[in-house]
């Protein structure tokens, strides 16, 4: 019997297929043409051709956030690879598993400044979980298997695999062998929380008088929503989500007190500031949450559960650190609470809830639709109503992102897809395409603005090619809204380069790409035209909505203040 022999390029595709990859997002180029040739000759893995490599990374990212499957990107050496850098950093900051296969010039040319040579492993080193450089074509399958294992285990993240051209060429062939069960002596992420720490945590939880649960993106990544909800109900505790954690518990759950942080609700930030115990689950005390760390919840005992030990006590000191997978640890906490026979004591919880409801009654997340100009918040509310809160909402970065986070209560996890950590403008459209590819029968919205949408607008072409009828809802305020807001608040109203002159006609632009364009100028046509847009199921609709350019995002934490020091609205402090 003869063993079948494969080229390196064939091994790449065969390995992806063995790892059950359905899609590769990429763009061809000289160093990886052998891989493209191998893709052409098989049916298992489908390639999606984007118009810019950055969009490939965001599309893979959106696909991953919606499904939980590892996203795969393929880019050529040099500019192809460097164009991926922003997308890799975006995935890194939000702990999204991704494998980036980057071409490289032939091994013999590395270091010679050859055509389309860049050291992508070096360029991406600070923004990857790990990277591999392939030096032997027989290793390709196992390197890819390792890359997947590292990307999705522990705290997930992007992994770069560099493939020099001579590893891929048809002249070299070898047998294919892959170990999908990866074991590494240097990498063993902790899964279970230490039993002593669990006991300590539960002991603190049962004695808490003013407990708050603060959960983040870790819950979404770990698919731990149901466990979280049952923990919240067992403890009858108020729960707040970070921007990344929205949907971790239903946005309409009675214990949910809104998002916290810079543009969080007053009740969430007040509850944090007044808590005696904070249970942080899969969150990392980001500066957009804490405000001034020196003034952050000085009286609270902090229990911090995270799979990544570096996240614990990095910015805020944790009194009870628990390292482990958040779903596993919540299960352990529930078991221990059950073992000690815990039931919430109403004489303790009632006064705390009374206090929280008082903060709630301020209705800090609210706006007034006065005058004819459409308020951006009003658009998000309309969007929520039409989609019954069930859409995948993929956001760009800016005011529209905050309005969506505040006014679209997410019922389920993985429905809110945004670049929270890096804040990457241009993320929204390709991310929405990734989600739509995964869930063609669901409503997928790209909520964006006239600034962000232009950062990856070329992908309208990809949408046509692959029939990805997302609904683009662009809150067009003819300016870079969030920049303008800061300039209004901090820079004496000097709008330095935040005004977008010479905007294109977005309706015509959408039509030029073969899609449907709708413009909404008046409040009285908002609901009907938006409904029209969502009724179109088989074509992409670009809805360009002229909104009030003077609107600011409120509430907003006051700079350098404590977590609960906020502007409720213009000129009104908490």
């Amino acid at each position: 019997m003869t063993t079948e022999l494969y080229t390196g390029a064939e091994m790449v595709v065969k390995a992806l297929s063995a790892l059950k990859v359905k899609y590769i997002f990429g763009y061809p180029g000289g160093s990886i043409l052998d891989i493209y040739d191998a893709i052409y000759q098989q049916q298992d893995v489908e390639h999606i051709l984007v118009r810019h490599e950055q969009a490939a990374t965001h599309m893979a990212d959106g696909y991953t956030r919606a499904t939980g499957e590892v996203g795969v990107v393929l880019a050529t050496s040099g500019p192809g690879a460097t164009n991926c850098v922003t997308g890799i950093a975006t995935a890194y900051m939000d702990s999204i598993p991704m494998v980036i296969l980057a071409g490289q010039v032939a091994s013999s040319l590395i270091g010679d400044d050859a055509f389309q040579e860049t050291d992508i492993v070096g360029c991406s080193r600070p923004i990857v979980k790990h990277s591999f450089n392939c030096r032997n074509m027989e290793e390709i399958p196992n390197i890819i298997a390792k890359a997947f294992y590292i990307a999705e285990s522990g705290r997930p993240g992007p992994v770069v695999v560099e493939l020099p051209k001579d590893m891929l060429i048809p002249q070299n062939k070898a047998p294919f062998h892959i170990d999908t069960q990866v074991k590494m002596r240097s990498y063993n992420p902790t899964e279970k929380g230490h039993p002593k720490q669990i006991k300590k945590a539960v002991n603190t939880l049962v004695n808490a008088k003013q407990l708050v649960i603060y959960s983040g993106g870790g819950i979404v990544l770990a698919d731990a929503s149901e466990l979280l909800t049952s923990l919240v109900e067992t403890l009858d505790a108020p729960i707040t989500n970070t921007l990344m954690g929205l949907g971790g518990i239903s946005g309409t759950h009675k214990n949910f007190i809104g998002m916290l942080g810079m543009h969080g609700s007053l009740e969430a930030n007040k509850a944090m500031a007044n808590a005696d115990v904070i249970l942080a689950l899969g969150a990392r005390f980001d500066d957009r949450v804490t405000n001034n760390v020196k003034k952050f919840c000085p009286d609270a005992t902090i229990i911090h559960v995270d799979v990544d030990p570096t996240s614990i006590s990095k910015t805020i000191n944790a009194h009870i650190p628990v390292v482990g997978l958040v779903d596993v640890v919540i299960k352990q906490l529930l078991d221990e609470l059950d073992a000690v026979g815990f039931t919430p004591d109403e004489t303790v919880t009632a006064p705390w809830w009374q206090q929280i409801n008082q903060w709630r009654s301020v209705k800090s997340v609210s706006y007034e639709q006065n005058g004819d100009k459409i308020k951006p918040q009003r658009v998000v509310e309309a969007m929520y109503k039409i989609t019954k809160g069930q859409a995948y909402v993929c956001s760009d970065v800016g005011q529209h992102q905050m309005f969506a986070a505040q006014y679209y209560p997410f019922d389920k996890p993985r429905r809110w897809i945004n670049s929270g950590g890096l804040g990457t403008m241009g993320f929204g459209l390709p991310a929405a395409m990734g989600a739509k590819l995964a869930f063609p029968d669901s409503d997928v919205i790209c909520i964006t603005g006239d600034g962000s949408i232009q950062m990856n607008i070329q992908e309208l072409s990809t949408c046509l090619q692959y029939n990805l009828p997302v609904v683009i809802v662009s809150l067009n305020n003819r300016s870079l809204g969030m920049v303008r807001q800061w300039q209004d608040m901090i820079y004496g109203g000097r709008h330095s380069s935040s005004y977008m002159e010479s905007l294109p006609d977005f309706v015509k632009l959408a039509e030029a790409y073969g899609h449907v364009g709708i413009q909404i100028n008046h409040l009285d046509e908002l609901d009907s035209k938006l409904e029209q847009a969502f009724a179109v199921k088989n074509r992409l609709v670009f809805v360009d909505i002229l909104v009030d350019e003077k609107e600011h995002v409120y509430p907003m934490q006051i700079r350098h203040g404590a977590v609960d020091e906020m502007w409720i609205k213009k000129g009104e402090k908490s």
Binding site: V121, R125, P126, S131, N133, P309
Partner: protein, 165 residues
Amino acid sequence: MRRILAILLENEPGSLSRIVGLFSQRAFNIESLTVAPTDEPSLSRITIATTGDDKVLEQIVKQVNKLVDVIKITDLTERPHVERELLLIKVLAMTDKSRTEVKRVTDIFRGAIIDIGKQVYTVQLTGDSDKLNAFIKTLGNETEIIEVVRSGCVGIARGEKALRV
């Protein structure tokens, strides 16, 4: 506070640059760094001398440990340990007086003259960093220093404790 960290990691291309990159990326200090393969050729051992308060040190240890290539890291300064550094120093030795003085100081510090030129002596000395500093200062009082090279410190725990896979 000065700390000495011992790191055991995979002897792979790029693993050293990950460590160095991490320190610069997160604004941690490196006072000195040494690296070489161990008795097991697939493993490298790095010794880093650094400074920082307890909070910074905790982050350094955690962040280094998080690197996929790293197998183990330990703070040697937490426990009794031995620390050594190698110094090679070239000094002017043109006169009888300076030659005698260099020889005398080298003997006192238990160093060795390892090379002699027409006008210079090259001296080797091992010890902890303080001893090397003192030696350089003393020699500098006796003659002119031409060139100094130091290896950066290496360290190992005292007693039975060992950093192994």
